[in-house]
Symmetry: C2
Subunit: 429 residues, 2 copies
């Protein structure tokens, strides 16, 4: 007998069906037992004579198949229920479950949630986070594919660090040492130069950051794009603005079910996202909020204050900060004068969710800038050599998927937006 999914039962009124899933709840009355069954499409109430139910060792979260008739019957879940004829236990739970997943709210701490990920994900408030995340990913891909970007897959085992920092994981690669890629930066630039012109990648990146904060992961999903033949970094910001509008309206259209469960409202981007030079933002922080001594960058408190400013004065959840100092940006960033760069961050509700900018396309300028950053060009030769072979003007950005998800849904910790997060101390499950 073929399994029928819960959301298709309505088409089988008064028929005998087989349904399969997890036992969500059991309630035993004097002569009958109510069993609520959950599959990937929903919940359904089933009713068994105790003569049937008592023969079985039924436990919540056990996997069962139930055969029975779909009968009219109004209950909290549906306008029908299943009159059980037989139950088969496919896989019984063993021992006590560490989490009760059939409460309205889980009320567990983050570690318990993550240590018991398979159970916690069965709760609709948890799985809805990933329902939304999937729409974000699909929206990113759809929009960029329509804009003629090509999807690429580039190596995460690399011999050169993209960001020039020390926060890289080392891998024993046979007789040699390799690193885990901190970003697909070099490769997406190379693929622009290879003739694809416009490329995107959605893949893991790795940061060996020592600190354990609520907004850092050591392995996270980076949604990157890079585009050739641009005038300057403003074209990249324009593209991101349209991309975000597309993604957010897709979430509103397709994510209703999840948004209701999560009790979340999606912000609107009206017109243009405000753009402000970082320098001017620092001035505002000093003048408006008395925040001083920011050395050419924002700390988390500064980001929050700028969000407050953007929200209260500019009526926006988002703000682009532009023209970051040269000394704060990686060597591939296009300089703007002696001190600044054609670069930007996008802050969303006080957290940076994007870093982007125009890149250097001229070989000699690139070598000079690598030296300016105190690095040795010889260490980057397999990257720099392509700039002798016809590299167009280009720029791009990266959006951290977990951060975007967390900010959009108001999650306190970015780990909640990762199915199986990796941080300073967490390598399991």
């Amino acid at each position: 007998m073929k399994r029928v999914l819960v959301n298709n039962l309505i088409d089988h009124m008064n028929e005998k069906v087989k349904i399969s899933g997890w036992i969500y709840r059991i309630r035993k009355l004097k002569s009958i037992t109510f069993i609520v069954l959950r599959d990937r499409t929903g919940l359904v109430q089933c009713v068994a004579e105790n003569s049937i139910a008592e023969k079985m060792d039924l436990k919540t979260e056990s996997v069962v198949s139930i055969k029975g008739i779909v009968k009219e019957g109004k209950n909290k879940l549906n306008n029908f229920e299943i009159e059980i004829e037989s139950i088969e236990v496919i896989n019984s739970t063993i021992g006590e479950l560490p989490i009760e997943v059939n409460n309205k709210d889980l009320n567990i701490n983050l570690d318990t949630m993550l240590n018991n990920r398979v159970l916690s994900l069965r709760h609709e408030k948890i799985s809805s986070v990933f329902g939304i995340q999937n729409i974000l990913v699909q929206g990113f891909r759809e929009f960029l594919t329509k804009e003629e970007f090509t999807e690429i897959f580039t190596p995460k085992l690399v011999s050169e660090g993209a960001e020039g920092g020390t926060e890289v994981f080392k891998v024993r690669y046979f007789e040699r040492e390799a690193y885990l890629a901190q970003s697909p930066q070099f490769y997406k630039q190379m693929m622009v130069g290879a003739g694809f012109e416009r490329v995107f990648e959605i893949a893991h990146v790795y940061r060996a950051e020592q600190h354990n904060t609520n907004r850092h992961l050591n392995e996270y999903i980076s949604m990157d794009f890079e585009m050739g033949f641009i005038e300057d970094e403003r074209e990249v910001m324009d593209m991101e603005e349209r991309l975000l509008k597309y993604i957010l309206s897709k979430v509103k259209e397709e994510g209703n079910k999840y948004l209701d469960i999560l009790e979340v409202k999606i912000p609107e981007i009206r017109g243009e996202i405000p753009r402000m030079k970082l320098k001017d933002a620092l001035d505002i922080l000093e003048k408006e909020y008395g925040k001083e001594n920011l050395d050419g960058d924002l700390d988390p408190e500064g980001e929050k204050l700028i969000y407050r400013y953007a929200k209260e004065r500019l009526n926006s959840d988002f703000i682009f900060l532009t023209h970051y100092p040269r000394k704060k940006r990686p060597m591939y960033t296009m300089p703007c004068g002696e001190l600044e760069t054609y670069s930007f961050d996008l802050l969303f509700r006080g957290v940076e969710i994007t870093t982007g900018g125009q890149r250097i396309h001229n070989y000699n300028e690139l070598i000079k800038n690598i030296e300016y950053k105190g690095l040795n060009p010889e260490n980057y030769s397999s990257y720099t050599c392509v700039f002798k072979q016809g590299m167009p003007t280009h720029g791009g950005l990266a959006i951290g998927l977990e951060r975007l998800t967390a900010q959009l849904l108001g999650l306190e910790n970015v780990r909640e937006a990762s199915l199986i997060p990796r941080d300073r101390t967490r390598l399991t499950p």
Copy 2:
């Protein structure tokens, strides 16, 4: 002035336009110079008075913008050409190019192709490989999304090896040691149990294999799916059969341009893909081809001979081999009797492109099988514990993207199907 793409020029007859791209070819005549420009959409012939062209330092593969009038004029490429008014060199090539990309065939060896990836990818026979690969990826995603599979992203930094082998890359993870995932096996099973029921992932996996063959990569793209509530492994094979039919017809519909360039014909799957027990395949090899001493598995020569058999006798490019021996399959594979398993490989033109099967869902059986394989269950506790929490019957498979691409397009080496491959000796570019 806004850039017009080459494939849109037809809409701008007799207008002044700006086009941008790479100089594909330069041919100087007595009073005029022909310049063929390439952008991501195609090639166009442009004509300049020598008075304009001679002022500039024009080199093949330099990046330029050209302004001029679109005029009627039949040539090998189009029914129009550009009458050049001005040329701007955006980025000139420096020195000799290691490859000439404007020949009909590249005629370079594999190392030269891969060492100069940005240049070699500009050749249409090379970039077409990835045009097809993109359709394969999109087809995989589209089909499974329609079948209600959920896309997942699972960690590649892991504390336990999925396959129980020794061929893992070690990563220094702060004070500890971690490994690069050989497959998303444990996590996709967990996500089935987490209630998604059906999941897929397209991501890198890592194999620290010592050997350097034409069909192995140390980092490759694995297209995985896993599905719950199955009867046995045959449902997984059924799903793959439909998936492959979908993907191949999508390649035929959308990949014509690339298939013509590559001079490739896509095979048809008529009816069912033949299914044969591995045992029977080994018998055939012995009886028909005198091939003996295969210890319960096929070597590359055996795979080729079975392909010959499938092609000549069964009229199929594909063949499923089933019921692999327990001793050859990982500990999570569902045993079938004492010696065999509910598992399969899919061979395509003599190369294994898929491994799959039903998995054990019962906790006690899993522990017993881990011990049977000579492994210590304690090393897998964060995986095995979820089998106490309600795990449905399930099974799945993995398709190696580069292998599928290479076999489909008749590439000699799987490295040709990786944008930036990693092998025993290659860590750059």
